[in-house]
Each structure stands twice: as C-alpha cells, then as structure tokens.
C-alpha cells in the first residue's frame, strides 16, 4: 500500500469510524451509515489536512466513494 493510500484510509477510518481494513473502493456515501453530509465535510477537511491541499468545491460534490476520492487526489498530483 502506498503512503498516500495509507493516509487516505486513515482519514476515512477516523472520520467514518471504520477500521482501515473496512475501507474499500466501494465504501460510499450511499452505503456507509456514518457518511452523512456533515461527515462529508469532515472527510474533506481530513483529506485537506492529510495531503496539505484544498479540494475544489466541485470535487467535494463529486467525491461519493473511497475509489472516487483516490481518483480525485490523483488529479492533485497525489501518488496513490
């Protein structure tokens, strides 16, 4: 697992109260009970902090799964 993926899983796990091994590409807004609209903002904040960037609002709306988060982070030049 790359360092980037390790950090991203940790962020998802912390905010959504999941163990890192419970976080998969399919972990999504619609299927994860703890991922509500406020958790979504907290998730963005955690990702901003972990990767020292500020995600665009459009990306914020697009990020509906862990897999999508990886895809978006690659656009910011994160190796993941």
């Amino acid at each position: 697992m790359s360092e980037g993926e390790y950090k991203l899983r940790a962020a998802f796990g912390e905010v959504l109260s999941l163990r890192p091994d419970q976080v998969t590409d399919e972990t999504s807004y619609g299927t994860t009970k703890s991922w509500d609209s406020i958790a979504h903002m907290a998730l963005i904040a955690a990702i901003d902090t972990s990767f020292d960037l500020t995600m665009d609002t459009d990306d914020l709306l697009e990020m509906d799964s862990y897999g999508k988060a990886k895809e978006i982070l690659r656009r910011y030049g994160v190796k993941i």
Partner: protein, 249 residues
C-alpha cells in the same frame, strides 16, 4: 481578554467595521488576527495598528478579492497552512451599489451577489472544514439593517443582505451540533465610507429615525462582533443582532 489564544480571520479588514474589528480582536488577546482585503497598502495600515496594540507576529495579511472564488480558495489555503486552525471568521467584506429598480444592470446584480453572498457561502463552507475538525468555532457575518427593512434604491444590496441573514440561520442550524456557532450583526447607519455619499439633507432625516439620535461608530459594531465571537456568547447561535441605535425596533 475575550479572544485569548484564538485565531481570528476578518474579511474587509482594511477599513470601517472590519478594521475596527481587527483592532478590537487585538485588544481582546487574539493569538493571530488574519487581515484580508484586496489592497496590500490599506491592510498594511491596519496591520501596523494591530501590531501597535500587541506583539509583531499578531497581524497577518492575506490578500483576497471576495468577488473571485479562486482568490477566496487561495486565501483560505494560506490561512489553513500558516495558522493550522481557525477559531473565528468574520465575514465583513461587502459592496454597496445604489440604483432604482429601472436602472439595475445585470452586471450590478452579478457583482453585488458575488461579493456579498457567494463569498459568504464559500467562506462558511471553507471555515466549516477546519472548525468541524476542531469541533469548535464561531462565525460572525456582517449583514445590514436594510436586510430587514428594505430600502428604496438599494434593491440588490438589500436582497444580498437578506440572503446573508438566511445563510446565517441555516448555517447555525447545520453546524450547531458540531460546536460551531454562527451569528450576524445588522448595523444601522455607521460612520464608514459607505455613508460618505449620503446627501446632507438626508443626514438629518436619518438621524431623526434613530432612537439614540446619532450615527454609530465602527468600534460599537466591532465590540458586538467580538462578543458574538467569544465564549461569552457560548449559548448564542443563529441570531441577528441589531447594532443600530434603536433604528429598527
């Protein structure tokens, strides 16, 4: 020391209510006062005054044009990276354009709404990202008495300030459970550049409509902003506090 150890970010900090709020925050022990506006020169003067009150590293200038979402994002990025936290956001920057209904241009609607409303929503959104992680924070928006009363010749400005009132209440409802309070002040006639162009014959009529019989000073608004931002107001959220000398009762 109402704001001891707090990081306070003030938009429109180069003059008027914003500048007065920066000085009041410094007097009240803020750890860092981040000053934002478009003009480096004007902000440098405010920063100088803030530093005169407290230590040198207290004031930080972050240039930002609130009519430009990219500029807002860049400023937020700078604040987040340099301060690591954000305890208080004061959304003060705004623009006042006058026009009777038949003379309102599309460009004017766009400019006023972008500056007075879009920026407030964006900044609340950005601030919430940091404050949610802290599980604490206070946001104070500067609206206007006109957002409550309406006014001839100010349709777009009034609509924008009414929108800020709505945004304040909605954000307060959404963020309260996470320890973040959102309030607004609604100043009446305050001695700032915004009233510099009022014709002399209107001045007396305006003063007569104010129960305290005078215009307000920027510092009188700033003190209410600091109160709302402080822990003294720990049980206050979603409120629009008039600072208008009893003009609207």
């Amino acid at each position: 020391m109402l704001l001891a150890n707090k990081v306070v970010w003030i938009t429109g900090a180069s003059r008027g209510i914003g500048r007065a709020t920066a000085l009041e925050a410094a007097k009240n022990g803020a750890a860092t006062v981040v000053l934002s506006a478009r003009s480096q020169q004007a902000l440098a003067e405010t920063a100088e005054e803030v530093r005169a009150i407290s230590r040198n590293e207290l004031a930080q200038i972050v240039l930002m044009d609130v009519s430009d979402p990219q500029s807002i994002k860049a400023a937020f990025n700078e604040v987040r990276k340099s301060c690591k936290r954000l305890d208080v956001l004061v959304n003060n920057a705004g623009v006042l354009k006058q026009a009777l209904i038949g003379m309102i241009s599309g460009a004017q609607i766009d400019e006023v709404m972008r500056t007075n409303v879009y920026s407030v929503v964006l900044l609340i959104q950005y601030a919430a990202r940091v404050m949610l992680r802290q599980k604490s924070g206070a946001i104070v928006n500067v609206t206007s008495i006109l957002g409550r009363t309406g006014n001839e010749g100010n349709l777009v400005y009034v609509a924008s300030k009414a929108a800020v009132i709505g945004a304040t209440k909605s954000a307060a409802r959404e963020l309260a459970a996470h320890g973040i309070r959102v309030n607004a002040v609604a100043p009446g006639v305050i001695k700032t550049d915004m009233i510099a162009n009022i014709p002399a014959e209107r001045i007396q009529a305006l003063q007569n409509s104010i129960k305290l019989g005078r215009f307000g000073e920027p510092e009188e608004v700033a003190r209410v902003i600091v109160f709302l931002a402080s822990d003294l107001a720990s049980y206050v959220t979603g409120q629009i506090v008039g600072v208008d000398g009893g003009m609207w009762i």
